[in-house]
């Protein structure tokens, strides 16, 4: 037996610290240079104090900021960065992206082989809608740590947004085959929804919900998406149930409130929508919510109040741009729908489409081209938007309106009818117009 108790304590601590170092990096889905760790004693890296995951994000940021100050290390910076990215999600302040990015760069300086830092930079690129960059970083991270679920998820998201659907499906199926869990099932639901496979998309979301997410908020998002899927199929009662479930699994989940507001307004109670959405916007002024509130105020006959929201949305978009977020699709669609410069929107979207060949961008470009007075070109993109067989009332309405402008009355009637059958109250902005157009083309 070893004679010196202090020494044995130190050894045990070293051992546990080493074990922890390995464990931490694994918990992160990699981190630290794996090969280095295999062969050599790990570099003296700080192993951080854990924090109760149910602590508020603000407290987590505070906790990891203190850890990063006390033990500056790649791990500490990565953890603080991830906590800050969660803050961005909760308070819709995009300046967190800038701060998190700086931390991740510091982490990479200290540990160039840290796959989590690279994948997290990929997440930031995706959040900024730079999907080419996101894909590159995700792939780099996957080369460092093959099979890393975090990086794999970033890659799938980027491929979907770049419109590289066959690759996205294949990558996603690999994820599903490896780990059929919330992370892969929830992505599957989106691709299946784009593919027009509603029943299967619903099943994927149910599986995601059943998958036992470690954090309630994850399950809340799955319920939210389930509600949106039902809303998109005009199943409003089912949508409401799903939104309520989202709120119940994660009390205070603000996005469920926003979705309920949209649902209430769609079903004709615009005042209830406004009542529900105001506190949401006060809490997280995401442009999409601010614009929706403006649309509701406009529908309620309060154009001045609506204009105030629209200016706020433009300000918010500027804040996003200042923090490196590409909001071209959002801004272009907003301007097109609210009497802005359609030609400028077309130019923006054309530029974007050089890399982002998704159905979402194709739809936005088609719609902008119609408003810019180029319905023939518009139709080309509206067709591409629907090439996967996506069952989306807005896409169908856009194509119907373009066909109507081209005098293709039967096609227009078919699309407009399909849109209004699929989701009769798909948009408080466009529903009336869709009905009017349908009447005109069937007259």
């Amino acid at each position: 037996m070893a004679a010196h108790p202090t020494r044995s304590i130190l050894i045990a601590v070293a051992a546990v610290a080493a074990a922890l170092l390995l464990a931490v990096t694994v918990a992160l889905g990699g981190g630290g240079s794996a090969r280095r760790a295999d062969r050599h004693a790990p570099a003296p890296a700080a192993v951080l104090r854990p924090i109760d995951p149910s602590a508020s994000t603000a407290d987590q940021v505070k906790h990891y900021a203190a850890e990063a100050r006390a033990h500056p290390s790649a791990d500490a910076y990565v953890k603080l960065a991830l906590a800050e990215l969660q803050m961005a999600r909760e308070d819709a302040n995009p300046s967190w992206y800038t701060r998190a990015e700086a931390l991740l760069r510091k982490a990479r300086t200290l540990d160039p082989g840290n796959p989590t830092a690279v994948a997290a930079l990929g997440s930031i690129a995706a959040a900024r809608h730079d999907f080419v960059r996101a894909l590159g970083l995700a792939r780099r991270s996957l080369r460092m740590a093959p099979g890393n679920a975090y990086a794999g998820g970033v890659a799938v998201d980027a491929l979907v947004e770049l419109g590289r659907y066959p690759q996205a499906r294949a990558a996603l199926q690999r994820m599903l085959d490896r780990r059929p869990d919330l992370s892969s099932y929830s992505r599957a639901s989106y691709i299946l929804e784009l593919d027009g496979r509603t029943a299967l998309a619903r099943r994927a979301l149910r599986q995601a919900i059943l998958s036992g997410a470690p954090v309630a908020e994850n399950t809340a998002w799955a319920y939210l998406y389930l509600g949106n899927l039902e809303f998109g199929r005009g199943r409003y009662a089912a949508a409401g149930r799903a939104y309520r479930m989202a709120e119940r699994v994660d009390p205070g989940f603000v996005h469920a409130r926003a979705a309920m507001a949209r649902l209430a307004a769609a079903r004709g109670d615009v005042e209830a929508g406004i009542r529900l959405l105001r506190p949401v916007v006060a809490q997280i002024p995401l442009p999409a919510y601010v614009i929706a509130l403006g649309d509701m105020l406009s529908a309620a006959g309060r154009p001045a109040a609506a204009r105030k929201q629209y200016s706020l949305a433009r300000l918010q978009e500027q804040l996003y741009i200042a923090n490196g977020v590409n909001v071209d699709v959002e801004l272009a669609t907003f301007e097109v729908d609210h009497g802005g410069d359609a030609r400028a929107a077309v130019a923006r979207l054309r530029e974007l489409r050089r890399t982002q060949r998704s159905v979402v961008v194709a739809d936005a470009l088609g719609w902008a081209l119609l408003r810019a007075g180029a319905p023939r070109q518009a139709l080309v993109f509206a067709q591409r938007a629907l090439r996967l067989g996506t069952r989306d009332a807005t896409f169908l309405f856009h194509r119907g309106a373009i066909e109507a402008a081209l005098g293709r009355r039967p096609e227009a009637a078919r699309d407009l009818r399909a849109a209004l059958t699929l989701n009769p109250h798909f948009s408080i902005l466009h529903e009336a117009q869709a009905r009017r157009l349908l009447e005109e083309v069937t007259r």
């Binding site: 051992a15 694994v26 979402v360």
Partner: protein, 444 residues
């Protein structure tokens, strides 16, 4: 396990890893980036000969790390589309010959899943228990080639012991635990439900400045946390081949793949999420690049991981010989000669020589202390696997006797004297954790 302590942190990170986006109106939808799957996350595996019934063996595994007791509104359960398997190799080929498979179902009485109970729960079928689980147990036998020979359901719709919520909701939790013991065929008993996390270790605040818990004052870092546990007691004859008392055991979790984005239909095939044989193998010894690969395959091909055991980083850190450590390889991949060697391919298995009777007095250092009925000959709940593994890696078996220790030698709660042996789950009130223990500070 270390991993579990750390998964506190991992959970925090998964939240951070979620991409932001509005509920609607965004140009794209970002999916959550979580990679955690606690319901399929195995924490420990135990196997030991029963003391009261020397002809029987107890097999225990647990999942869902770091359950915060009584953490409304999140109550813990087994996964509904997870298969929990305990596998036994009885001919040394590192393939399962017998598998006990546990499948769970959640039942909700009044449709509101957020009310766990509507009054005091005094029995397992109490109408006040709103959310409850039941489970089936299957005994599967396999051919030498790995094909399923026979699958028999030996337990049907058995009740799962609920969460220990607190004195008002579960006033006699011990009674519920006892009611959970069910017969599953001749001489076999099964139990599933919430228990205290039986793993114990003394981990304190770690940084580049480390707080070490001094001897005597050290407390179980995993004290105050619960897990979902499965315990099975079977006659030795149900798992061994006559004349070959040594078996190799591992548990694994599998999830059903119910959706296929390419073909449109899910096969329903089971995909292995995790496996567990020897304690701490994947957490501590296997390299980062290989952790997923290790978890997702069976033990039969484990020879590819030999080098992690022959040249362990942990040995380097401990200042012990770190090359060609055949002693560590034997303990993890072949069994110890004259004790529990299985022969056949190298494989990470919890090896139990069932012919060694239970010890009259258990020693927490097991075989290292001359108690052959303890780890690494199987594993009992009270075996101090952290100290044993640290001492072995530090060279105990190769001429460097040592007493490396984390200074925690027992669980924070006493284990039950009889089956299912687990320590009672902590309740929602009156539990404490010991994570940030105040202690002396030593500079490394």
């Amino acid at each position: 396990m270390v991993k579990r302590t750390l998964s506190l942190l991992a959970a925090a990170l998964t939240v951070g890893a979620l991409a932001a986006g509005p509920a609607f109106g965004s140009s794209h939808r970002e999916a959550p980036l979580i990679s955690g799957d606690p319901e399929a996350d195995l924490t420990d595996l135990y196997a030991f000969v029963d003391r009261a019934s020397p002809g029987k063996v107890n097999l225990i595994t647990a999942a869902v790390p770091l359950e915060e007791p009584g953490d409304a509104p999140n109550y813990y359960k087994f996964g509904d589309n997870v298969a929990y398997d305990i596998n036994i190799d009885n001919n040394g080929d590192a393939r399962p010959d017998v598998t006990y498979r546990f499948r769970f179902r959640t039942h909700v009485r009044n449709g509101d899943i957020f009310l766990y109970n509507t009054g005091p729960v005094t029995s397992l079928n109490d109408a006040d228990l709103n959310v409850r689980q039941t489970y089936d147990v299957w005994r599967i036998s396999w051919t030498a080639g790995g094909a399923m020979r026979k699958s028999t359901r030996i337990g049907n719709d058995l009740p799962v012991v609920p969460n220990n919520i607190g004195p008002r909701s579960t006033p006699n939790f011990h009674g519920l635990v006892t009611q959970g013991v069910r017969s599953v065929g001749s001489g076999s008993r099964s139990w599933a439900g919430q228990s205290d996390d039986p793993f114990f270790m003394g981990l304190s605040q770690i940084g580049d400045l480390v707080n070490v818990q001094p001897k005597g004052a050290a407390t179980d870092t995993l004290g105050g946390f619960n897990v979902q546990a499965i315990a099975l007691q079977v006659p030795k004859t149900a798992i061994v081949r006559p004349g070959h008392p040594v078996v190799g055991i591992w548990s694994d979790t599998e999830r059903q793949t119910n959706v296929n984005v390419l073909t449109g239909k899910g096969s329903g095939a089971l995909t292995q999420i995790e496996r567990l044989g020897m304690p701490l193998t994947n957490e501590v010894l296997i390299g980062l690049d290989d952790k997923d690969r290790w978890a997702q395959r069976g033990p039969r091909g484990d020879a590819v991981f030999d080098h992690y055991l022959l040249n362990p980083v942990l040995a380097t850190v401990l200042g012990a010989p770190d090359q060609n450590r055949t002693d560590i390889l034997a303990a993890f991949h072949t069994g110890i000669k004259g004790l529990n060697q299985t022969g056949g391919p190298h494989a990470d298995l919890l090896r139990l020589n069932t012919s060694i009777p239970a010890a009259g007095t258990e020693k927490h250092l097991g075989v290292l202390a001359g108690d052959l009925a303890g780890f690494p000959n199987g594993r009992r709940l009270a075996d101090d696997v952290v100290d044993i593994e640290l001492q072995v890696v530090a060279g105990e078996l190769i001429g460097s006797p040592n007493d490396v220790s984390d200074n925690v030698q027992r669980n924070d709660r006493p284990f039950m004297a009889g089956f299912p042996y687990m320590a009672l789950a902590h309740q929602g009130f009156e539990h404490t954790h010991h994570l940030p223990a105040s202690a002396s500070r030593i500079v490394m």
